[in-house]
């Protein structure tokens, strides 16, 4: 298992993912692609998040996908890319995805 990449300077491989529910963006997030479930090979936390959403909204209505793969970059750069995607979405739609509302509010404080 790889090290945590909580420090901004830590380098690694990241993915920016999106979760859609009923075709609407529910959340953008950053996944550490070096921390995957051994058996499935998928980002651990993302799989867990998806299962919780299936229970509420039904599997057929939920999709998860990696939209950007970032190789050998710092946590800080990955956060910036995640933020750019989120800001682009807000600019185009005028809406903050439900799953990003809390973190977006904290960021703006």
């Amino acid at each position: 298992m790889s090290e945590h990449k909580n420090k901004n300077e830590a380098k690694g491989n990241f993915g920016i993912y999106q979760i859609t529910i009923f075709g609407r963006i529910f959340k953008f997030g950053k996944a550490d692609l070096d921390r995957v479930t051994q058996t499935s090979g998928f980002p651990t936390r993302l799989h867990q998040q998806l299962r919780k959403l299936f229970a509420v909204f039904g599997e057929k209505n939920v999709d998860g996908s990696i939209i950007l793969r970032l190789l050998g970059i710092t946590t800080k750069q990955a956060k910036k890319m995640e933020s750019d995607i989120l800001d682009g979405h807000i600019e185009q739609t005028g809406e903050i995805p439900e799953g990003n509302k809390k973190s977006h509010k904290n960021k703006k404080k």
């Binding site: 499935s40 090979g41 209505n61 999709d63 998860g64 793969r69 190789l71 739609t93």
Partner: protein, 162 residues
């Protein structure tokens, strides 16, 4: 046992475009099969993760998750054989999905011929039926635009794959 069929794509831009109606119909078809041929395992849910890595990889991998609650499989389906110009061909998709189901379920005693019977029913229902056509949502179209702009912006950076 119930079926949980879901999608997770870990290769940017390589998504199977499947409507909720298509996924719902597939799950109920597999549920019918499991009702007729119950699998004797502790798990209550047959979990099928549909994925691809953008290549011709076709593989079914049995995984163990959820402390035995789930009988889980990953179906790696060949993206270029199923998708043309970003449109998912439902006939080809159904063929590979059911090839995967044979690999996954035959070892549990479900006859191949029964799985193939369901495959024909599914194909007759899904293929060229407007009810199951995938229509991108507003958010999906917005994301396509944002990602196209980012692709152009970072086209010279090999560490950013969009």
């Amino acid at each position: 046992m119930r079926t949980s069929l879901f999608t997770y794509y870990n290769e940017p831009s390589c998504f199977f475009r499947l409507s909720a109606e298509t996924k719902g119909f597939l799950m109920s078809a597999i549920d019918e099969l499991l009702e007729k041929y119950p699998i004797k395992v502790k798990a209550q849910t047959l979990e099928i993760l549909l994925c691809n890595d953008g290549t011709d990889r076709f593989e079914v991998i049995k995984t163990s998750t959820g402390r035995g609650q789930y009988l889980s499989f990953q179906f790696w389906l060949p993206y270029p054989k199923i998708t043309k110009n970003k449109v998912t061909d439902l006939e080809s998709f159904t063929n590979f999905l059911f090839e995967g189901l044979i690999l996954a379920l035959e070892p549990f005693g479900i006859p191949k011929s029964e799985i193939q019977k369901i495959q024909e029913i599914v194909k007759n229902e899904l293929v060229e039926n407007p009810k199951y056509v995938y229509v991108p949502s507003r958010d999906e179209l917005v994301m396509e635009k944002i990602l196209a702009e980012m692709k152009e912006k970072y086209k010279d950076n090999p560490n950013i794959i969009i």
